[in-house]
Symmetry: C2
Subunit: 337 residues, 2 copies
DNA sequence: CTGAAAGCGCTTACAG
DNA sequence: CTGAAAGCGCTTACAG
């Protein structure tokens, strides 16, 4: 790594400027010198120093991705992992490297890190405190939010259309003939859990309401809570002859399914179960879980291309971008023949 | 972000050198000027430019993590996601930012990217081609490998003790009384799948062998293959009265469980199932899956601390570090009362 | 205790 | 078509 542009220039018998021009491809160079220089670069395996380049161009060609989440899993979270899997190749194809950071304390420190690194832009994932946004806004770094929630009209954010997803779930279960449904609702401070529930309930409201809807609120949205609440409400569940469970995310649904399995309740024979998110978990459990899939792929790639527009100061961007959800019909809600 | 050290110096009425010394904390400064300078920095929200600092210190304080894998999921892969979740906070606590990159083509391009960024070190995850290693070795960047395989004695690599894990699995199933076991073995070119199988078989060999062992090889280690192979071999499986399935990873096991569920085979009542990896999938499916857990937490944090030693040229590091696996006994192998 | 100067490895006008 | 010079924002000896 000891070799720098000066070294290449000397070996090729030209000046640094010439080497620089040839590498960047802009500016003239006779094909003869170009070939000579390129040969030296190739042979010496010269790697231009991106740090020095960033210094002068005032562009690092790297972006920062911060996932705000209090608890593990973060990167291995079923939804955020997929988002990152979409972001990475999209960033690479536009020439950006990505700094990834998780922030469990939801603090400003992670942002500071990124700011010092002079990232060209920032993708903020998940729910983050208002003060983080206010802080980021003070600096002139481009940023956008994915899967978070904010009432700040300045913030560009990408979210899934959770309300419509909730409606789809309602229509699906109702269409299957379920008239007594147990709803397991994740934390309502979260935009997505809130809208999923709202959409689900609204669908019934708009059709004159339905008697048999029981909503149980969960303070967290993980497997353990789904399991605990299903177990605690088991007697009431039976008493009300519920024939279906709708949970506002897959992990809660999986927790509920565990209890059903342990009680030898046949899914979907006796009770149908639906989740939300479209994680891989829903696809590989047995019976496979019917769910409403969030379009993480498009959200991830769009986040990158939109950020790139911001960085390059090109074009006008919408403040809010909503992504349609898609219901995936699987075994857990299948009707018997 | 327009303010630089010069600006701070002017506002505080001192020289750049003084500001620099105060920020870095080394070098003298009267407490009076120190306070004044710090106040200006605070008020102006000055963020030192890490790029410029890297330029002169020849240290970027960032490391590169590359995950080599042909197919999605990569970051959302159950095992690699956990590894990254361990790496990120460990890196941060040592003052490193991390560039994350996935490389589906298993090419040299991802390495070049990192090299140009002048990362202080490289963590290479999963199985990578020999030419990548040979390439990295040419440069003087510190690196190490996690969960890969190599016969190159120079390469520091961190792996789980898969062979012992395979033995643990064998002992567990045998101890439960299973005498006819169907083994679903992932790609044998992968070190881990190979050793898991070897360990499993060796345990029986050393005890005089066992008749009822059927090994079926799978060219890939995902859910779909587990499912397909279990379905294809279903008749033979029944004919041999197999009472247990051991798969060399959780996804294969999950695929097999799907087939069993669809055939209304009770797990563990009629057939016990075991996986390997200790992914979250194994914990949340129903019945929960008995598995052998890889210590991703320690592998991830060790990878970072060891790389840091390499970067700082401190201490001698072992070439190979093996991490003990731990069997997690769950519902899928539970004996009936 | 503090400041002037050199230098890290590039790129970018500007001359020639 | 090519090179000399200035400058990006810092740190680090070296004087004073």
């Amino acid at each position: 790594m000891s070799l720098n542009i000066e070294g290449i220039a000397k070996l090729a018998g030209v000046s640094r400027s010439t080497v620089s021009r040839i590498i960047s491809g802009k500016g003239y160079a006779s094909s003869e010198t170009r070939e000579r220089v390129l040969a030296v670069i190739e042979q010496m395996q010269y790697k231009p120093n991106a740090v020095a380049r960033a210094m002068v161009s005032q562009r690092t060609n790297s972006i920062g991705v911060i996932v705000f989440r209090e608890r593990q899993p973060i990167v291995s979270h079923p939804l955020y992992g997929k988002l990152i899997d979409a972001i990475l190749p999209a960033a690479e194809s536009l020439g950006y490297s990505v700094f990834l950071q998780t922030d469990q304390e939801m603090s400003l420190r992670s942002t500071d890190f990124m700011l010092e690194k002079r990232v060209d832009g920032l993708i903020l994932i998940s729910r983050l405190r208002k003060n983080v946004i206010d802080y980021v806004k003070k600096f002139d770094v481009p940023y956008l939010m994915v899967n978070g929630s904010t009432d700040d009209p300045d913030v560009i954010h990408l979210v899934s259309d959770d309300e419509s997803g909730g409606r789809q779930a309602a229509a699906h279960l109702h269409g299957l003939g379920h008239r007594s449904i147990w709803v397991l609702a994740g934390p309502q401070e979260h935009r997505s859990h809130n809208l999923r529930l709202e959409g689900f309930l609204a669908w019934f409201e708009e059709r004159g309401g339905m008697e048999g809807l029981t909503v149980v609120h969960s303070p967290e949205s993980n497997f353990e809570l789904g399991r605990r609440l299903m177990a605690e409400h088991w007697e009431a569940f039976k008493r009300q002859d519920c024939t279906a469970v709708f949970a506002t995310n897959d992990m809660l649904a999986l927790g509920a399914m565990r209890v059903l399995a342990e009680r030898s309740v046949d899914v979907p024979g006796q009770v149908a179960v639906m989740g939300f998110d479209g994680t891989d978990y829903a696809a590989v459990c047995s019976p496979s879980l019917t769910t409403v899939q969030v379009d993480t792929q498009r959200m991830g790639t769009d986040a990158v291309t939109m950020l790139d527009c911001l960085v390059r100061r090109e074009g006008e961007l919408p403040r809010l971008k909503e992504y349609e959800c898609r219901l995936i019909d699987r075994q857990s809600t299948r009707r018997e023949e």
